[in-house]
């Protein structure tokens, strides 16, 4: 994202322009709805949403979804990371996983959600499992690519210094794969949000996915819109989380940007 905004702007001025942008959008939205007299089922105005949505439900649903998202995100990434590390170090394991990667990439996890529901039954577990699975495969594949993509000359350097495989792994392969981990985290974050919400939509329970379904059935559009905005906010939150992780995982690159 940083490639697209002026890197000379400080964080404070970024927040400032974001706030101004948001306020402008809200104003335009309100004015458009009022001016065109749009019916509520097409587009409720911001005032309608604020006053009529059931905010208590929205907030508690957001909290529930956020919980599943974060747990799923952590579990899926840790599992993908560990499996990639294991696979990269064992020729047999990587020989098995490599050919599978196209298939693994193609399995639509979202489509597996119905299957998983039959296996695990309804409940919070399913939302976390789907969230974790959505995150697991991209991280596994990206980390595998990252761990194998160490430059030849870097590996030769390790041989000249007579480094053991373990040393080579810790000193070189692992740090060199961090940029790949970060880019898979960037993909994983919104995917986790979508995965969890899809699972909630199918399974029921207390999350935002469920709320969207319920409020659309009960024709409570302000609430539905509020849930939509809340879900976008959650996605934004995950994005911020990944940016923080990025600074932590690849500090030597972040400094340049």
């Amino acid at each position: 994202m940083n490639a697209f905004t002026s890197s000379r702007k400080s964080i404070a001025s970024n927040w400032k322009s974001a706030t101004i942008g948001t306020i402008t959008v809200i104003l335009i939205w309100e004015l458009t709805v009022v001016w065109l007299d749009l019916p509520k089922y097409i587009l409720p105005s911001p005032t309608d949403i604020v006053t009529e949505a059931q905010w208590r439900d929205v907030v508690s649903a957001s909290a529930s979804s956020l919980f599943s998202i974060i747990i799923g995100f952590i579990v899926g990434n840790v599992a993908g990371f560990l499996l990639a590390v294991f696979a990269a170090s064992s020729i047999i394991a990587s020989g098995v996983i490599q050919p599978l990667s196209v298939t693994l990439r193609s399995i639509p996890i979202i489509a597996i959600a119905p299957m998983l529901t039959l296996i695990f039954g309804r409940g919070l577990t399913i939302t976390i499992v789907v969230g974790a699975l959505v995150v697991f495969f991209p991280t596994l594949i990206n980390m595998l690519i990252g761990l194998r993509s160490t430059e030849r000359e870097l590996l030769e350097l390790m041989r000249v210094l007579d480094c053991s495989r373990v040393q080579t792994f810790w000193l070189v392969r692992l740090p060199a794969s961090m940029p790949y981990l970060v880019s898979s985290l960037r993909i994983a974050a919104p995917a986790a949000v979508l995965g969890v919400m899809v699972a909630e939509w199918i399974v029921g329970g207390s999350g935002l996915g469920q709320l969207v379904l319920r409020s659309s059935i009960q024709i409570e559009y302000p609430t539905m819109w509020a849930a939509l905005l809340a879900s976008a906010a959650l996605a934004g939150l995950m994005f911020v989380l990944v940016s923080v992780l990025e600074r932590f995982l690849i500090p030597w690159q972040s400094r340049q940007r």
Binding site: E151, E153, L154, E156, L157, R159, V160, L161, D162, C163, Q167, L171, V172, P175, A176, M178, I250, P251, W252, Q253, R255, Q256
Partner: protein
């Protein structure tokens, strides 16, 4: 104690479904201790391959290499080689100092010891004050100096350089050549350089091996009897230019062996 590097009848070939490829064939040479030897030749003549065979980064399909009495593998495990690659190959997440510390830490030295020695070396290559810089903030020439400093940390018996100054302009290249000569004389190590720059080869070496390709082999040996230490003034002296001319002619014949 044998005071030389001996390469005997080395062959490196890669079999493949379509017939195979021979990178080196019947290569033999001897490098005396303390000598500066250079391998020069057209692309694909196997000079980098030969360098890697000596350093035990590649195992030849045939032939032997002994380095001061040890096999090349023993020498590598005893960390007798300092290798400078074509690309500086600095770890981007470590500072310059930390990069130079790497061999010392791998060899088991304490952090404090390593840092002390590393900063001495950075000072030696003229990079005092840049210890905390990340590679991304170093210029090409500076990164190469860090790479050289790193290669020297363990007092290697043999300094191997694979086209280390490619892509630099003439002035910087000459500067680094003089630095390299100074360091080589100070450390009294044996050096093996791969380059395709004739002037650089003559400036630095005691002996230049000209290689040809298809298959890769040595086609000529040129002695450079100029006095040491060599300076940039010498670059324009008749004696220097004469040797450059000889070497160029020999090199040209290596190119003529293939269709240019």
């Amino acid at each position: 104690m044998i005071n030389r590097i001996e390469v005997r009848d080395v062959e490196v070939s890669y079999p493949s479904d379509s017939g195979g490829f021979t990178a080196l064939s019947g290569v033999s040479l001897t490098i005396e201790q303390g000598e500066f030897a250079t391998l020069i030749g057209p692309s694909g003549c196997g000079k980098s391959t030969l360098l890697r065979v000596i350093a035990d980064l590649l195992i030849p399909t045939h032939g032997t290499v002994t380095v001061f009495g040890e096999s090349s593998q023993q020498a590598r495990k005893a960390r007798r080689f300092g290798f400078v690659f074509q690309d500086p190959v600095l770890l981007p997440w470590r500072s310059a100092l930390s990069n130079v510390c790497l061999p010392l830490r791998v060899a088991g030295q304490s952090k404090a010891q390593a840092r002390k020695r590393a900063s001495e070396l950075l000072n030696l290559v003229g990079l005092k004050g840049f210890e905390q810089n990340l590679p991304a903030t170093l210029s090409g020439g500076m990164a190469r100096r860090v790479a050289i400093a790193r290669a020297l940390t363990l007092n290697p018996s043999v300094l191997m350089l694979d086209e280390p100054f490619n892509g630099l302009d003439e002035i910087r290249r000459q500067n680094l050549n003089e630095e390299l000569q100074r360091l080589w004389m100070e450390f009294q190590s044996t050096a093996v350089l791969v380059t395709h720059n004739v002037s650089e080869a003559v400036f630095l070496s005691d002996r230049v091996y000209v290689m040809g390709k298809d298959p890769g082999r040595i086609i000529a040996e040129v002695h450079v009897n100029l006095p040491r230490p060599r300076t940039s003034d010498m670059l324009h002296e008749p004696a220097f230019l004469e040797i450059v001319k000889n070497l160029s002619v020999t090199l040209l014949s290596a190119y003529a062996l293939e269709d240019l």
